[in-house]
Symmetry: C2
Subunit: 183 residues, 2 copies
């Protein structure tokens, strides 16, 4: 397949956490099109697993969809050079009040391949050590603990809809509960 060729990218609006560009692209058919593009520094998220196997989620109000959500702890990188594992460790401690020296890569999630550059590297954190939650001034978060089977049921019954959280709960479940049982 002949490739798409991007011949220009113009910043149209600088938001607080996202930048909006207009991309000028020549399609494989030779036609010039203009597409939306969102620039993003990248992010990290973490599935925090307590010793009894329960998983910590954060409950927070999400302005974009006007309701509370349950999500795995996550946050943006401070710069495009920040290691996502360090970002995950920081967000874990900030949002849940636990830290961990046992953080393992699970998967990368691209939330909106159609128009956003954002990638979220998701990790699993174990051997959690109680520390201190320190939220950003505009963050208001409650932490909640669930068994993995409850979480799987909450995804399948449409109670958890956040993409990184739904994908990560299911990936964690299949990798560490289903496949390891069959191994």
């Amino acid at each position: 397949m002949k490739e798409f060729v991007r011949y220009d990218r113009q910043l149209m609006y600088k938001g607080k956490i996202i930048d909006i560009y207009k991309d000028y692209i020549t399609t494989p058919a030779g036609k010039d099109v203009e597409w939306d593009f969102i620039g993003h520094k990248g992010a990290a998220a973490v599935v925090p697993v307590l010793e009894d196997g329960s998983i910590i989620l954060v409950k927070q109000w999400r302005n974009s969809i006007d309701r509370f959500t349950l999500e795995i702890p996550a946050g943006g990188r401070e710069s495009v050079n920040e290691d996502t594992k360090e970002c995950a460790a920081r967000e874990l401690e900030e949002e849940t009040g636990y830290r961990s020296d046992n953080i393992e890569f699970l998967q990368t999630i691209v939330p909106v391949a159609a128009y956003s550059q954002e990638k979220i590297d998701v990790y699993v954190a174990r051997d959690l050590i109680p520390s201190k939650q320190h939220l950003d001034p505009d963050e208001f978060i409650n932490i909640k603990k669930y068994q993995i089977k409850e979480l799987v049921d909450m995804v399948l019954s449409n109670k958890i809809q956040d993409s990184k959280t739904a994908a990560s709960i299911m990936a964690y479940y299949v990798k560490y509960c289903v496949h390891s049982q069959n191994a």
Copy 2:
């Protein structure tokens, strides 16, 4: 927990498929903040299952992340009033060249709860009937077929990263392969 209150929303930029707003919000602590908000009409996606159990994905180049992706067929609603099941049926036929009268709801995915209104209702389509692919002029798609176990391995080995696709493959696998085996 006291609620966040949004007291204004201003359109900052009108893109081709997304609109960017600045939201003015009072936090539970009484502080006024400005947050990014992306307006979106909503979308639908579909896991197309062939008679032999294999699943159809679409391979396409994604400008936002500068590479080809494997995704379940998906697309935006034509209006905020369009039924997402109809949208899923249309995208199925347009992108894969199959249609179906057996389309069942799987889950809703919110790709970016942090700043976008977008919701994707995901369906499972069975009893596929060969029809005709009719892509948008700027769409260049190849269809690919995989067994579900291959797809699960591709998610767990980080080869499939698109959030709606990763989440839906895992949800489909757990609901129809793992749980039904245990039932």
